[in-house]
């Protein structure tokens, strides 16, 4: 989706109703889901995947996963880069994650889960110190994989790479040991 168009849509939303960041994200995700045809992720699940990625990389003073189109990147990445075994494993992990999440939230269908339900499920699998029941290991592994994919997409994003992280396409010099704060203000090099 065109970024300018997305911002315009959000602007309209803000003017019309009082919204929380979560609602903005959901609103964006609807827009995204409506205009993007996934290459790998099942179309009916794309919105949920997008919302999960937005929970992992939420909008702050810099855009979040949905506005950065990380779900679209990730979908295209998996479709193009992964072999059939990796794809099958992802699909299996996704089913387990959906099933475990639906059960945890005491709902009948995954489409009935709220953002709060998804958040609770990610917390269970990604926050340290939680005991994961044996039958949910596949779901927990999936959550970790989704986080890695989201981070990869975030760090491969042009806006993040060029304006948020320290960007030096032509460094021009090489120095072995320098002060982090003085050199990049504490940011990692994006390249």
């Amino acid at each position: 989706m065109d970024r300018r168009k997305a911002l315009r849509n959000i602007g309209t939303g803000i003017g019309a109703i009082a919204v929380t960041p979560t609602v903005v994200s959901l609103f964006q995700s609807c827009q995204t889901a409506a205009t993007y045809t996934p290459a790998f992720i099942p179309a009916e699940d794309f919105e949920i995947v997008s919302n999960l990625m937005e929970l992992i990389i939420p909008k702050t003073e810099i855009p979040g996963a949905i506005e950065l189109k990380l779900p679209e990147f990730t979908d295209a990445y998996i479709a193009a880069v992964w072999d059939e075994n990796q794809k099958a494993s992802f699909t299996e992990g996704w089913s387990e994650f959906l099933a475990a999440s639906t059960k945890s939230a005491s709902k009948e269908k995954s489409s009935q889960l709220s953002i709060e339900d998804w958040d609770a499920q990610l917390a269970k699998y990604l926050k340290p110190g939680n005991d994961i029941p044996a039958e949910e290991e596949g779901a927990a592994k999936f959550a970790n994989q989704l986080r890695s994919l989201t981070v990869n997409a975030f760090k491969t994003n042009e806006f993040i790479g060029e304006t948020v992280m320290a960007y030096a396409p032509i460094p021009g010099e090489q120095r072995g040991c320098v002060d982090l704060m003085e050199t990049t203000g504490g940011k990692a090099w994006s390249l």
Binding site: L55, I56, I57, P58, T60, I62, G64, F73, A76, Y77, A80, V81, W82, D83, L122, A123, L126, K127, P128, R147, V151, N152, F154, K155, T156, N157, E158, I160, G161, E162, V164, M165, A168, P169, I170, P171, G172, E173, Q174, R175, G176, C177, V178, D179, L180, M181, T183, T184, G186, K187, A188, W189, L191
Partner: protein
């Protein structure tokens, strides 16, 4: 079309470029034949300025590419979406494997000099005398003193960054200022210096200009972009395209003909000399013959030997120069992908600038005399490696996800360091390549079949390579040190060599001390095929030095009417 020249050079990579430069500078009208397409410096580097986000996969190779480059991608690092055009299509350029053999190739002007690793080390007399001392294979016909001036000459022209530290097994050279080690590299360096008397951590020596300029097509100082294998717009690292070929071109003596598949050297039995080469035009499939007084085969190890094997005549029924029966045998590489890595706690407030093209190098410390000879294997190995800050750390993982997590992943992660061994493979007669005339390529030429494996000596060495790597990192205070010994097959080091070895005796070798075929003195082989043993260092610098030396020998011999 002119078909008569003073010299013919087959191949335009590391060796061919040097042969072209030296022969043209000495006034020989030289035809340079390249089987692949033209690649002009800068102009034909389409991806040289791309960022990862310019690719829909972030420059990670796709399944679609893999289908065409399965073998080319076996390293897991060399083929990317940004470099794939410099590697061959495996379907169009097939070969056969009795045992897995990884053969990475670039069929274009410049060859692998565009994508090479650029590590540039000299062999030493520990290498040149090794076969004799160990009673393995045959003795090299040359010693360090024969090649040392040519190493100096080559280093001066190409530009090599490094530092002299005065070790006989890591000889001083002609170096531009070294790349800087980072804070954690220095930790390992200090620790090794303190705890070991037999080894040092040195600066990598890489063919990059780190100060000033070098001859060629506008070669200037490295900008530390680390996009080398896509071709460098600054000409900062050595490639044939930026350096030797433009220098040859500038003499007015070079005729460069791409799309020219050389498959045979023509022999005149009466004169006992080669008279020229047979060529198939890769695009039109028309056949041509070109003639010259002297021929340099620099097509890279396997194609060079392949050409000799196909050059059959009554005098040479088993291939030109194969009176010894050694042609195609003794294929070697460097075995690697074994070492260790660990995490380092501290220096959280430190970082580095620039993406350096080389880190640390730990020169060989086994079997170089005295106590260092006390091993259960022959020869030795060196390590390449370096420290860096990772992308996200355990502390970040504890933040799980969300806004704080997002903030943290924009910061550098923990320091970690890996050191990866590169070891010598012995020349085994049974490790060989042969031609398969039942499986022809699209030009009707036989395909190559490989039959080679590493053996007991290499396996024992790998054990030591891993153990020593772990020990050095642990001694230096690294945490969570993990050794690894990943799958390795010959060729994966992309240093395939041997198959037309130099030697003192025509009954046991293919080439003499000047890289001439023993029995056809106007045919020189100066690429990796000529290697009698592998040493343990990256070989390209040696190919350049051997080529420059042989080219100057050829010019002298022509003047004396000896060839």
């Amino acid at each position: 079309m002119e078909t008569n020249y003073d010299a013919i050079v087959v191949g335009t990579g590391i060796s061919g470029g040097w042969a072209a430069k030296e022969l043209c500078e000495k006034g020989l009208k030289t035809l340079v034949l390249e089987r692949g397409r033209m690649v002009k410096h800068v102009e034909d580097y389409p991806t040289m300025n791309d960022d990862p986000w310019d690719y829909k996969t972030g420059d990670v190779i796709t399944q679609e590419t893999l289908k065409k480059q399965e073998k080319q991608s076996r390293t897991n690092y060399s083929t990317k979406e940004s470099t794939k055009h410099f590697f061959v299509n495996d379907i169009e350029h097939p070969y056969n494997e009795n045992n897995r053999f990884d053969w990475m190739r670039g069929y274009h002007v410049g060859g692998r000099s565009i994508m090479w690793g650029r590590q540039s080390y000299r062999l030493t007399d520990f290498d040149f005398t090794a076969n004799l001392k160990d009673g393995v294979a045959i003795d090299w016909p040359i010693r360090y003193k024969d090649i040392a001036p040519w190493y100096k000459y080559v280093e001066e022209f190409i530009g090599v960054s490094g530092k002299n530290i005065g070790l006989p097994h890591f000889p001083d050279g002609n170096y531009l200022k070294p790349l800087e080690l980072n804070c954690v590299d220095e930790v390992l360096k200090d620790s090794v210096s303190e705890k070991y008397s037999d080894r040092v951590v040195a600066n990598a020596r890489v063919a990059h200009i780190t100060e000033g300029t070098k001859p060629g097509l506008g070669r200037s100082t490295c900008q530390y972009r680390n996009r080398c294998s896509r071709g460098c717009p600054f000409g900062a690292y050595f490639s044939s395209n930026s350096s030797t070929l433009p220098t040859a071109e500038a003499t007015g003596n070079m005729t460069l003909r791409p799309n020219s598949v050389v498959h045979e050297v023509i022999y005149d039995a009466d004169a006992k000399r080669a008279t020229g080469v047979r060529v198939i035009d890769a695009e039109t499939k028309e056949v041509y013959e070109f003639n010259a007084k002297v021929i340099f085969l620099c097509a890279s190890t396997v194609p060079t030997t392949s050409i000799l094997m196909q050059s059959k005549s009554d005098a040479f029924p088993n291939g030109m120069g194969n009176q010894s029966g050694e042609l195609g045998h003794n294929i070697m590489d460097h075995h690697f992908q074994v070492g260790a890595e660990g995490r380092f706690e501290g220096f959280e407030d430190k970082y580095y600038t620039g993406r350096r093209p080389g880190g640390i190098y730990i020169p060989r410390f086994r079997n170089i005399g005295g106590k260092t000879d006390d091993n259960d294997f022959l020869r030795g190995y060196g390590y390449q490696g370096g420290a860096n800050r990772g992308s996200w750390s355990d502390t970040v993982a504890e933040m799980a996800y969300g806004a704080d997590f997002k903030e943290q992943i924009t910061k550098p992660g923990d320091w970690s360091m890996g050191i990866n061994g590169f070891g010598e493979i012995l020349p085994y007669h049974e490790n060989k390549m042969i031609l398969d005339y039942d499986k022809l390529d699209q030009w009707g030429l036989p395909t190559v079949t490989f039959d080679a494996t590493i053996k007991e000596n290499e396996m024992k060495m790998r054990k030591d390579m891993q153990e020593q790597a772990i020990e050095m990192l642990e001694n230096a205070g690294f945490k969570d040190v993990k050794g690894y010994d990943n799958e390795y097959a010959i060729g994966l080091g992309i240093h395939e060599m041997g198959t037309a070895r130099m030697g003192r005796d025509r009954k046991t070798s293919v080439l003499n001390a000047n890289n001439q075929l023993h029995d056809v003195p106007n045919v020189y082989v100066t690429d990796g095929a000529s290697m009698t043993s592998a040493g343990n260092v990256n070989p390209s610098l040696t190919y350049m030095a051997l080529t420059a030396r042989a080219a100057n020998h050829a010019v002298e011999e022509l003047k004396k009417m000896n060839i």
